[in-house]
Assembly symmetry: C2
Amino acid sequence: MKYSYLSHLYCPKCNKSYNSADKNQLCSCGSPLLVQYDLEELKKYWSPKDLIGRETNLWRYHELLPIRHEENVVSLGEGMTPLLPMQRLGKEMAIPKLLMKDEGIIPTGSFKARGAAVGVSKAKELGIQELAMPTNGNAGAAWALYAARAGIQSNIVMPIDAPKITRNECAISGSNLFLVDGLISDAGKIIAQAVKDYQLFDASTLKEPYRIEGKKTMGLEIAEQLNWKMPDVILYPTGGGVGIIGIYKALKELQELGWVQGELPRLVAVQAAGCAPIVKAWEQKKDVSEFWPDSTTIAFGINVPKALGDFLVLDAIYKTKGCAIAIEDPAILEEQRKIAAFEGAFICPEGASTFVAARRLRENGWIKEEDVVVALNTGSGLKYPDTVQVKVPVLEKGSFIKIPITNC
Amino acid sequence: MKYSYLSHLYCPKCNKSYNSADKNQLCSCGSPLLVQYDLEELKKYWSPKDLIGRETNLWRYHELLPIRHEENVVSLGEGMTPLLPMQRLGKEMAIPKLLMKDEGIIPTGSFKARGAAVGVSKAKELGIQELAMPTNGNAGAAWALYAARAGIQSNIVMPIDAPKITRNECAISGSNLFLVDGLISDAGKIIAQAVKDYQLFDASTLKEPYRIEGKKTMGLEIAEQLNWKMPDVILYPTGGGVGIIGIYKALKELQELGWVQGELPRLVAVQAAGCAPIVKAWEQKKDVSEFWPDSTTIAFGINVPKALGDFLVLDAIYKTKGCAIAIEDPAILEEQRKIAAFEGAFICPEGASTFVAARRLRENGWIKEEDVVVALNTGSGLKYPDTVQVKVPVLEKGSFIKIPITNC
């Protein structure tokens, strides 16, 4: 048994192959690269029962991850996040089998930890000592912290409007952090120049091939947590789209291994109404998206006007008979409140958007009552203090309080 | 096999017994009550191998928890938090076997989720529909959210200086939240009056007996994660002290079950120099602490001038040959930064204090080089944005960045 069954990298556009022992970025044709495993070989040795008793984080799937030697693993214990029944909310929206995959319960408080854990581990294995990336906040925070654990120097540029706590995370880790008075696309241009000027490793979304492999573990976990039965629908808040690409890749790999049977779940890309390039492309049945001008949404993590992997996201939607849907900010905030009040989960606006989407797709009949529906929450509400309006009475010492007598 | 081997409640001061089917608060003598299990019976049916393949949260230990019927469990997937090797930091402080139990990776971002999950579940089982409590922030946030999931109304009073994000958590859950211009002791007085005026269930620290049972699972997990070998030292940031009481109780129960052997780990109560009543009592070899006037520390969660369970904390320290130590705020902040820069973990100031304590106890020889040392981090740094000072350059779109060429 090998620790990893990594075979090579390949281009999903032009099919060119690359050696995984090299420091690869994009394909020469400009497309992101994907990781191929030797699944035929792995199939002979590996079955679901081998997972029993393994550590309860994403490294339990190490055979299907790209790190060849265990000593290169850089871990903060990420993964195996809860798959929670949402009974009261599900009842209200007539989806009794509504589940939330809660990626708020993970180091750095967002699903970006998965991509960072696997991406940084592979960077360490490849001998990379310094990296650079633009970010909308959470990815930069995750990469900065994992890079610190690996002893790798990070250089990060984020929009000035990104969640402020992510600045703290980068700064305290020792990252070289810069803010830009613009969007992530503006941050991306600055990083691209720095990568060129200083010959840095470019850890931008999909410009290195291993972040997808980390994100993919969300799909592996959902399948394992449902005892290798696939759900009917998975809703995913889509900015760069790495998660939906990763989940799709994971489920196809599990199919090839023979661990899951039947149709893949219908994958739903949920975007903000103020930044919905994938939704527009899907509505027009196109294979790629167009740059979305003047994008804006309170769900900052999905404010991505043009994703490098848009064609892979759209392919995953088309192949699984999924769809794409855009949600307005006020509906997102109202759903965020409901999720806390009904289910006790304080989640991020990006995550809340997937529940609005579920609600609407149930209303129009696209989701059926009997469907097993997984809504993916990508992060903790703790990272977004400004989305909750709080008015609280302030008392002097020795005051009395008047409580509305409700139930007692 | 029963779901729980709960037997009854008893008073650790006057030994009086109470029926666990009733809504109990303090003993008539004023002491907190503790939960007793039928360990002799449980021992016949339960062994470590029964845990294999169970869900990876604290409910894997349901036999040793006080909920009689599984349908009353209110869970957000809490528990089985990472026990992380801290190799680089450990090397620097000459404790090669330094581990961190990371309670930041849990719903609501702090270890208070454990007490809330078990406490609220038991409140639901007892038919309680409304509860009240004072809080330094994190406990209130956790109880408000778990109560929301259970359909229980919460009433919470917190100091105006408590971490602001915890207000959001309470407010969004639908709690009746009040701030007080004072300390948690002032909040406690207001709650005590409201409990009397409105006949509410009092969920204040140790005034209900089940929060300890939730906190106890930290001890169960540490033992299981070390394969039922006990560490030599556990350092715990001590405010109300429920965690140290719970960990001590857990390890004694595991001893009685025969799951662990040998000496208990030396338990260390770590306090802030600006609020160190337990340390003072320990130094004077006393059994109870005195109210600490004008207490102040940036580690807000351990700003508790007089803990109701102080005698239980001191007993746990004396019985395990532990100690108590106070740390100044500047040293806490410097350690917090080091932990992020060396280990990639952004933890709360309370948690950081335990690492300063480990460092000092190693320097004075109380901790030996070969000791297995567990430092308990009680929460995520995400909840304390103001403890990190960030100065970041702001760029215009199209700018260039100058990176100090370090490693590349």
